[in-house]
Assembly symmetry: none
Homo-oligomer: 253 residues x 2
DNA sequence: GTGCGGCCTGCCGTTACGTGAGGGTCAAGC
DNA sequence: GCTTGACCCTCACGTAACGGCAGGCCGCAC
């Protein structure tokens, strides 16, 4: 009964050493040992290994994988769903990179050399530094920027996580309203715009209605932002901009 | 002129230490040094860094990257083309993994546990050798599963997409009927149950009314399955189960 | 002229294993 | 009953690609 290290290694396409390592660090210990000390892996062990390899493939550190898998609140199906979503996100990222490479090829054949910023856009994770620098260029050391910089400097990693999560929720709500057919000057859309403004005020700087208008305009003008929203729902950026303006108009009365 | 380590690091989204390391191992040495020994990166260095980061992202070891980039036979355009192809291959692989996860999810919701081989098919090399034999050893008796397995083995990626899409549509229709107040033994609900049965027969195995009853019961009994439907609409699982039973009752007459 | 941020060079730490060394285990074959 | 070869065990050191800190120069702004 059960599988030996070698068998498991062949099945899963990993080395025996890897399995030994997972045993050492407590990530995957075989269900049993034979009388002579041989590792014996059960079917449940195989299932766990499958998940381990999956998360590993997606770049998770082993320690984190252990935490994820040992979470009593999530079963096999939860993991499969999470894995599916992670895969889709990853695919989207690679497709963006492919598009960026196509752009670079085009630029290259036309003899245009990219600006330093354009060069590394490809690896577009959300980098606060980038925004900071750009913000300074655009608003040249205004009061708002100073406030933003001071606050953001104090933020911990957890703060950033909460910040981005909150932003993502608002964006999704916008997308829902948009696909749901609510006009940009509807109550709901303006409510979301207000929420967005509050979000910025809370985390970054005092965002007046006028500044907010400027932000909205920037969203549609800056391809880096549109690249963020448009893949989800075409036209969403414009919709958000319009909602922001409608909300500002209302407040002006 | 030129960029300092810090500037390059911010631009490219890497740490200063990483640039130091690339300098140490000779992968990317700055074109110049200032009189005081400061690293000064040129535009050409930035271009090289871009390629380095690209290949790194795709999992190439640094040493290999150096070989690739120092190959005199390939210019920037060659690299871009190669990168594009690598990306596409990578995307294809992830899509296969996503399809495999979908398969695992379906197996899971149907209460089927995968064979060891199926478990790790996801990660690349598929070895068809003694596949048939083991499956028979483990599941030889159950006619329905054999049929299901044979059919699913033949399904393409697109088939899986259609399959899950179809399943999702039926579920949504159930949710609509439920929230619309239609009783579980209404014409509409039973019609949907019949559609569900046809769906399974078409894609998986001959689903008799009795088997269908069993499935319905399993849906409510298995928390992993309810976890799938309940968040959308509370009580939906029970509703589906009741509709399936009502439909089976009607057919028995 | 003295901070203060940025840069330098070591140098040790870490993750996820690779790669033997030295030595038991087990089914097969002579 | 004994060997043989494939497989298993536990140390234990090696490696890649950095992370992070110490101790010490720059450089310019106040």
């Amino acid at each position: 009964m059960g599988y030996s290290v070698g068998q498991v290694a062949r099945l899963a396409g990993v080395t025996v050493r890897t399995l030994h390592h997972y045993d050492e660090v407590g990530l995957l210990s075989p269900g049993q040992r034979s009388a002579s000390g041989y590792r014996r892996y059960t079917d449940a062990d195989l299932e766990r290994l499958q998940h381990v390899l999956f998360y590993r493939e997606l770049g998770f550190p082993l320690e984190e994988i252990a935490v994820i898998l040992d979470d009593p609140g999530s079963d096999a199906l939860t993991h499969l769903r999470r894995q599916h979503e992670l895969l889709n996100r990853r695919i989207g990222r690679l497709q963006e990179m492919a598009a960026a490479v196509e752009r670079a090829m085009e630029a290259n054949t036309m003899g245009i050399s990219l600006t330093p910023e354009e060069r590394f856009e490809i690896f577009g994770d959300f980098r606060p530094e980038d925004h900071e620098q750009e913000a300074e260029e655009r608003w040249g050391g205004t009061e708002a920027f100073e406030q933003s910089r001071r606050r953001m400097a104090k933020m911990t990693k957890d703060d950033w996580a909460r910040f981005t999560a909150e932003a993502a929720r608002t964006t999704e709500a916008f997308a829902e309203a948009f696909t749901g057919g609510l006009p940009a000057d509807s109550e709901r859309a303006m409510e979301l715009a207000e929420e967005h403004r509050a979000h910025i005020t809370r985390w970054c700087y005092d965002c007046s209605y006028e500044i907010h208008r400027g932000l909205g305009d920037m969203y549609v003008a800056d391809p880096r932002f549109t690249a963020n929203y448009e893949p989800l729902t075409a036209g969403l950026t414009q919709y958000i901009r319009d909602a922001i303006h409608a909300n500002a108009d209302r407040a002006a009365d």
